[in-house]
């Protein structure tokens, strides 16, 4: 049974979770990295071969060593310099961290990457893939030996409600007693859902968005009923937006 999240409970009673990256996401990140390794090797190879005019033997020797160094060193170098991320991991928004929350050490990065040679056996990362599926923390052999896990990188930005609601008139704000009643009756989950629907507006398809706001508005109207004159001309989306404004910015 997978846990899906990696939770740390501190001595101070704080508990925080990070979502574990599953095998499919990691495979996609690996594909991006393999493509990047291919491109870097090709470019490097062509650059090195320019020097073959001087010495063909030396150029071929440098090319052989370069391919090897790039294939082994790519992930080690990037995870070291980008704090647990490679190009593929950046694209997929995942990161390598210590399995117990410690600082990620260079030795761990080297070990997890050198052990890819076993994870890749017998072909196409079969051993690593199977280990990842059966492991509770989605660890391949390299992760297990290095004590590392791969987690999703959380959205780092702190939501800016001022920007979200700036310049909009809220017709419901004049009913202070109803707004107070709404804040008292709505659950954090309902409020959170409404806020997410507003902050992630642009991620939704137009038809899905209309339907979502319709259902949300209907549900929110059932919690507290505002007078009809203050709802006049309000679309479902505007209504949900005004409700979120009342909940999260009572002092605006």
């Amino acid at each position: 049974m997978h846990r899906y999240t990696f939770t740390i409970r501190t001595a101070e009673g704080i508990s925080f979770a990070q979502r574990l990256a599953g095998p499919v996401t990691r495979l996609l990140a690996l594909s991006v990295d393999l493509a990047a390794i291919g491109v870097i090797s090709q470019l490097l190879g062509q650059f090195v071969m320019i020097t073959s005019i001087i010495s063909p033997d030396a150029a071929l020797a440098v090319r052989t060593v370069s391919y090897f160094v790039v294939s082994i060193g790519y992930s080690i170098f990037l995870e070291w310099t980008w704090r647990g991320q490679t190009l593929g991991k950046r694209v997929l928004k995942i990161r390598v961290i210590d399995a117990e929350g410690y600082r990620l050490r260079p030795a761990q990065i080297v070990i997890r990457n050198l052990l890819r040679i076993v994870d890749a056996l017998p072909l196409l990362y079969a051993v690593g893939g199977v280990c990842c599926f059966v492991s509770k923390k989605y660890q391949r052999i390299g992760d297990f030996a290095a004590n590392t896990i791969v987690v999703y990188v959380a959205a780092e930005s702190i939501p800016n409600l001022e920007l979200l609601f700036r310049g909009t008139y809220n017709s419901l704000r004049s009913h202070a007693h109803l707004a107070a009643q709404l804040r008292k009756m709505i659950t954090p989950q309902q409020a959170s859902l409404a806020l997410e629907a507003i902050t992630r507006r642009d991620e939704l398809q137009p038809n899905s968005r209309l339907e979502l706001y319709r259902q949300l508005a209907e549900h929110l109207r059932s919690i507290v009923r505002f007078p009809d004159e203050s709802l006049e001309g309000l679309t479902d989306e505007q209504y949900v937006r005004n409700i979120v404004d009342l909940i999260y910015r009572p002092s605006a």
């Binding site: 010495s55 020797a61 297990f144 909940i247």
Partner: protein
């Protein structure tokens, strides 16, 4: 009950930003050291952010904010809980003169095991070829080794230039990369509780034993020593050190005579594994150069006595280095 999110964020934003800034400074500069005052401030910021997370998780349930704070706290926790000191700037000289040989000696019993396994394999390989010369075809990894030793010696000694005279650089690079890859495999197979490393060492021993037996039986011992010793005295110990690392990893996974849990055991050997495999790679670079630029020259170009003496000298230097380098200084933490 919903927290006034706007007021809450406005009140706490400065704390979170300060924590993020402090952590970025620590993370981006490996040599950055916190003063007592800085550490106390970092701890305060961590606790305050933690308290904020509890409040926001309980009352407001705003997922983006919760995730942001969790990510920030995870970073702070990693720095605060980390008991190991940050590394001083890496000194190549100190690493070569102390860290590598000291690490090698600290885990010497695994090196001896590695040697013993190779000798067992060599005895088996030697016996197999000794009793049944046709077994060479099944054991030898390269077609060139299937050649009759006397015929090969005659062929090599009749050349003015070695076969790869015009592609020595490429040959050398191929030898280095291939041997380093095999060494990494010897280390990585330690993840199979050491079983894979044991098999690899035995197999290497079998090949070595078969070749030695074949040449000795054909009366070509001097050629064999002149050919193998210059690079073999470095290459073979290097592979044995990689095997030592693989066995160390295997032991950490099995945990014989250890009260620590597996993650603690693996954590405690991580530095040693990297040191041993890095040392192996350096030795193999040297061995690759010697094999391509020196070992392939035979009599009459280079006298065998000179090649054998060169190989023995290398071996003595290697033994002295691994046995004595850094023995006067205290064991370094790798």
């Amino acid at each position: 009950m919903i927290v006034d999110l706007k007021q809450f964020i406005e009140g706490e934003r400065a704390i979170w930003e300060e924590l993020d800034k402090t952590l970025s400074k620590i993370e981006n500069d490996p040599l950055f050291r916190l003063t007592l005052e800085n550490a106390e401030r970092l701890h305060y910021l961590y606790e305050r952010t933690g308290a904020g997370l509890i409040k926001i998780s309980t009352f407001a349930a705003e997922p983006n904010l919760v995730h942001s704070l969790e990510a920030l706290l995870a970073r702070a926790y990693a720095e605060l809980r980390e008991g190991r000191s940050r590394k001083e700037k890496l000194s190549v000289r100190a690493w070569l003169s102390q860290t590598f040989p000291q690490t090698f000696r600290r885990h010497f019993h695994f090196f001896l095991t590695s040697v013993a396994l190779t000798i067992v394999g060599a005895l088996f390989g030697g016996a197999a070829v000794g009793f049944d010369p046709d077994a060479k075809a099944a054991i030898a990894p390269f077609p060139r080794l299937l050649q009759d030793p006397a015929a090969r010696v005659k062929e090599e000694e009749s050349k003015v230039n070695p076969v790869l005279a015009h592609s020595r650089g490429q040959f050398s690079a191929a030898l280095m990369t291939n041997n380093i890859r095999v060494s990494i495999l010897a280390l990585a197979l330690g993840a199979t509780w050491g079983i894979g490393t044991v098999i690899l060492l035995l197999y290497n021993g079998i090949i070595l034993g078969a070749i030695i037996c074949d040449y000795v039986r054909a009366g070509q011992s001097v050629f064999l020593m002149g050919w193998l010793l210059p690079h073999g005295v470095i290459e073979i110990p290097a592979i044995l050190i990689a095997g030592q690392a693989g066995l160390l990893l295997g032991q950490a996974l099995i945990g014989w005579n250890s009260s620590e849990d597996v993650s603690q055991r693996l954590r405690s050997i991580a530095g040693s594994l990297v040191t041993l495999i890095t040392g192996t790679a350096i030795l193999l670079v040297w061995a690759g150069l010697v094999e391509a630029f020196f070992s392939q020259y035979h009599e009459p170009i280079l006298p065998y006595s000179f090649k054998i003496a060169f190989g023995l000298a290398e071996f003595v230097v290697l033994v002295i280095y691994l046995a004595a380098a850094g023995s006067r200084s205290s064991a370094s933490d790798d």
